[in-house]
């Protein structure tokens, strides 16, 4: 696939058209754009798929204003931001807005809450729908009062005429008033006169979370609810050889052992009874198991597996020799939600309702419909929050477990709770990846040529309407098999997300080696391939800067043409006091930059580290981040996401690697898969937001992951001279490198 046009200038439609001959059938699971044909007029955000204003905003006769979104709260603060944009455009206080999140019976279908797209898809739709609703209300008032619309004043749910007459929004809006198709453009409020967007507003969900309120699907207690546990096999491919269930069924409180092929679950009246029953069920079940492969030579295996090659950039250069080459490795890493997946389902009168922390209730419903062989109108999925997921974890699988068990016990609600071991061993991981890069520098120290090749499994095995993407469906009497994964096309990309550097380089070739069948189950983990690709690119930029005898910031600046990228890099460097930095023994500094997906938020992270040469332990003394997320609706929300992204990325980067062997996954708890604890934190962490009022929302959730990893590797190299190119950068690895 040759593509000389910078990705940011290519629309999805053009791009998909241009690539149609190359990318053969991409997964429906990948993105919202695949869900519905685009309307002729380009409506903003998700209005494109759901154009009626009253799909987003409704005003009831009692004055209640309800906003509907197909996106969900994952702890990223999206509910609060959506309330803010609606309140701003409707000219009401945020407290007047009730928000309904993803529910297949009530809300728009916005696909998945993923890809840092909730602001650009949903907030853009809500903002425009609210602005257009406001205009409709004002027109209705102008007609009612017989005055010019310009003479009206709106505020707090009222419209006032100059002569003192007034009417509430609810009095003006008849049932069908907002049942109109949105227009492509809206009269948005002037960013200079905003009163809610960009102003502090505390998260609406936090008070319940700190006081023990009902906040998660885990907290849902329905009358007569039963508790279930599912028996998982030793490895992915296994079938039950023998099961002596009679003893289990006689245990206290046990209602039923549900069996469908090798899908086995136990259901009890009380939760701890189900825990005990699962222990017994595990003891009395034997399996025929297909061993998992060996983890030895992981990256050698990766490049030797069958792969499809996609040349995603090919601009010929003129270099006759390469200055430097290197390869970078990222192992399998897990989402590792603190709360294992959970779901509640009820089958009644031929219909099943599932309460789930899935990131996509509509795609999940599609997959459940296929698995249960039921018509779509008989399956409803309602989102309730779960523990933070950071991508495609066990949420959808737990929903499928609950649905299968509920169908076997009509009438009774069933709650399924995964164990810690099950979440660790069966969630789909972030794929192992390998990136190899080489570049040529000219006499002036500028990069003339760059070649990058990345090997990766899929990052898109979400349910996508396919039962085969649901774990329990693999084990049914009539099983479903995992659909052959497809790559997510550029410009967003999956394994090749951020594989094209944003730097201006004359000769540039980038190849994505897509490995469809990986030994371990893999799917979307926060930032997908961007984490590994930015780690590789930004580590290599420092290696090149060293070769060119250039300062890492100046070297990047030299190759950046995008003014916003330069601004972010400069802000991070200034706040870090990069220029004033005084070298000290055992300490070092590192910086890295990326624009997420090359079309989302710009982020730069600078770290100062202290390294203990003996133990190899790295202490992060300072972390300074600058981010441009476009129009900033909730500054503290952006800071919270960036802080969290940096700390989570430090955890991935310093500690995390899924272990496995023929016997199965051996990372089965927090001892065998350690993550960052308080002792591993940076001493200080600052986030500086570059505000761009009135510009498109760029999203924030995944911008920090890649730059943080490379900044750490760069700081380590600066402190010690040791360049580590294999993740995680554990203290053992550092100590070994320093001993060499």
């Amino acid at each position: 696939m040759k593509n000389a046009i910078p990705p940011r200038q290519v629309s999805r439609r053009e791009f998909l058209g241009a690539c149609a001959g190359v990318v053969v059938g991409f997964s429906l699971s990948s993105r919202a754009w695949a869900q519905a044909p685009e309307a002729a007029a380009p409506l903003p955000g998700s209005l494109r798929q759901t154009p009626f204003i009253d799909s987003w905003i409704r005003i009831a006769p009692d004055g209640t204003i309800t906003v509907f979104t197909g996106k969900v709260e994952l702890g990223q603060g999206i509910k609060t931001a959506l309330i803010q944009v609606a309140a701003e455009e409707l000219v009401v206080p945020p407290a007047r807005i009730a928000l309904v999140t993803a529910d297949t019976a009530r809300t728009p279908n916005e696909g998945y809450t993923a890809g840092s797209q909730s602001m650009s898809n949903s907030a853009t739709a809500v903002m425009n729908a609210a602005a257009q609703a406001r205009e409709i209300i004002a027109d209705l008032a102008a007609t009612k009062f017989g005055v010019a619309v310009e003479s009206l004043k709106l505020g707090d749910g009222n419209v006032r005429a100059a002569d003192g007459r007034s009417a509430t929004y609810a009095e003006l809006v008849a049932e069908q008033s907002l049942h109109v198709t949105a227009k492509p453009t809206s009269r948005l409020r002037d960013p200079k006169t905003r009163s809610v967007i960009g102003k502090p507003l505390q998260r609406v969900d936090i008070p319940a979370k700190v006081t023990g309120g009902v906040a998660y699907v885990h907290d849902l207690r329905l009358p007569g609810m039963l508790h279930a546990r599912v028996l998982r096999p030793p490895t992915y491919r296994a079938s039950v050889r023998s099961l002596a269930a009679a003893g289990v069924e006689k245990m206290p409180g046990v209602v039923k052992v549900v069996r469908n092929g090798s899908f086995i679950a136990v259901v009890a009246e009380r939760e701890y009874q189900s825990v005990r029953a699962l222990e017994e069920l595990t003891r009395v079940t034997t399996w025929d198991t297909q061993p998992l492969g060996s983890a030895a030579d992981l990256y050698g295996q990766l490049v030797s597996l069958p792969h499809d090659d996609y040349v995603i950039r090919d601009t010929p250069g003129g270099a006759s020799a390469w200055t430097l080459e290197a390869s970078y490795r990222r192992p399998y890493q897990m989402h590792g939600a603190i709360g294992p997946s959970c779901a509640v389902a009820q089958f009644q009168d031929g219909s099943v309702t599932v309460w789930t922390h899935s990131q996509g209730v509509y795609p999940l419903r599609g997959a459940l419909v296929e698995m249960l062989r039921m018509p779509p109108e008989r399956v409803r999925c309602i989102h309730m929050e779960g523990s933070g997921c950071y991508g495609h974890n066990g949420a959808d699988d737990a929903a499928a477990d609950a649905a299968l068990i509920a169908v076997a016990l009509p009438g009774r609600p069933v709650r399924v709770q995964w164990t810690r071991e099950q979440e660790h061993a069966f969630e789909p991981y972030g794929s192992a990846m390998l990136g190899t890069v080489r570049a040529a520098l000219n006499a002036q120290g500028s990069i003339t040529d760059w070649q990058y090749e990345v090997w990766s499994g899929t990052h898109a095995a979400r349910p996508g309407g396919s039962a085969g993407n649901l774990l329990p469906a693999w084990y049914l009497q009539e099983p479903f098999t995992l659909p052959v994964p497809q790559p997510i096309p550029q410009p967003e990309g999956g394994g090749d997300r951020n594989a094209i550097p944003l730097y201006s380089i004359p000769g540039l070739r980038v190849v994505h080696h897509f490995v469809p069948q990986m030994p371990l189950r893999v799917s979307a983990l926060r930032s997908l391939g961007a984490y590994a690709n930015v780690f590789a690119i930004e580590s290599f930029m420092d290696e090149l800067a060293l070769k060119a005898n250039a300062d890492p910031v100046a070297f990047r600046m030299r190759h950046l043409r995008d003014g916003r990228a330069q601004d972010v890099l400069r802000l991070a460097a200034d706040q870090f006091r990069w220029e004033q930095y005084t070298p000290r023994a055992g300490r070092g500094r590192g910086i890295a930059f990326a624009r997420y997906k090359n079309l989302g938020a710009y982020a730069a992270v600078a770290l100062e580290v202290k390294v203990d040469r003996e133990s190899g332990r790295i202490e992060v003394l300072r972390a300074v981040c600058a981010v441009d997320a476009g129009d900033a609706v909730n500054l503290d929300g952006i800071r919270n996401q960036m802080e969290g992204g940096i700390i989570q990325s430090l955890s991935w980067t310093m500690y995390e690697s899924v272990t496995y062997g023929p016997e199965g996954i051996t990372s089965r708890d927090w001892n065998s898969y350690p993550i960052l604890r308080f002792a591993g934190l940076p001493r200080t962490l600052e986030v500086h937001v570059l505000e761009r009022p009135g510009t498109p929302f760029l999203g924030t959730g995944e911008a920090a992951q890649g730059p943080t990893a490379a900044a750490l590797a760069n700081a380590l190299a600066h402190a010690t001279g040791a360049r580590i190119r294999e993740l995680p950068i554990t203290h053992q690895r550092v100590a070994a490198a320093l001993a060499d």
């Binding site: 006081t211 701890y272 933070g388 950071y390 802080e643 989570q648």
Partner: protein, 157 residues
């Protein structure tokens, strides 16, 4: 029957004495604060206070708890009237998904009950046993500092 004293009230509990406290809190007493995280005492999402000390409710059988005073996050304050520590978590917006937060608050409360003016280092050390996956740690530390009357921070944002 085992009598458990939870947040100052006695409850007669009819459950297998080996039942971990977590299931009794959540399923019998319908308290949401303590969370199931690992069932292994590794993550701290289930943390409560028993006689002034932090305890992993997921691995503490109720048989061991008769006559002891159990506190959960519900015992600190309510949405309408949060405790000073809960209010500090709200003021610092110290949550993302929030799943670990009730356990973090109880862990911090146990420290403050014993040592009302802990140093930054004491706070960090004490909180070590709690896992957070969203990376909200800096805000959690800020919230605890705020609760002891030392706002401002090692961790400004």
């Amino acid at each position: 029957m085992i009598t458990l004293n939870v947040n100052g009230r006695d409850y007669a509990i009819d459950a297998d004495p080996t039942t971990p406290l977590l299931y009794v809190l959540r399923d019998d007493l319908r308290l949401n604060g303590a969370k199931f995280g690992c069932g292994l005492g590794q993550c701290g999402a289930c943390t409560v206070i028993v006689d002034g000390e932090t305890a992993y409710s997921c691995i503490t059988p109720i048989a061991a708890l008769a006559g002891r005073r159990i506190r959960t996050v519900e015992g600190l304050g309510t949405v309408e009237r949060p405790s000073p520590l809960q209010q500090a978590f709200i003021d610092e917006q110290a949550a993302q998904c929030g799943y670990c937060i009730a356990g973090m608050i109880m862990r911090a409360q146990a420290l403050l009950d014993r040592n009302p003016q802990p140093t930054d280092e004491e706070i960090r050390t004490h909180m070590q046993a709690g896992l957070c996956r969203c990376g909200t740690h800096m805000r959690i530390l800020r919230a605890v500092r705020r609760a002891v009357g030392k706002p401002g921070s090692e961790a400004k944002a």
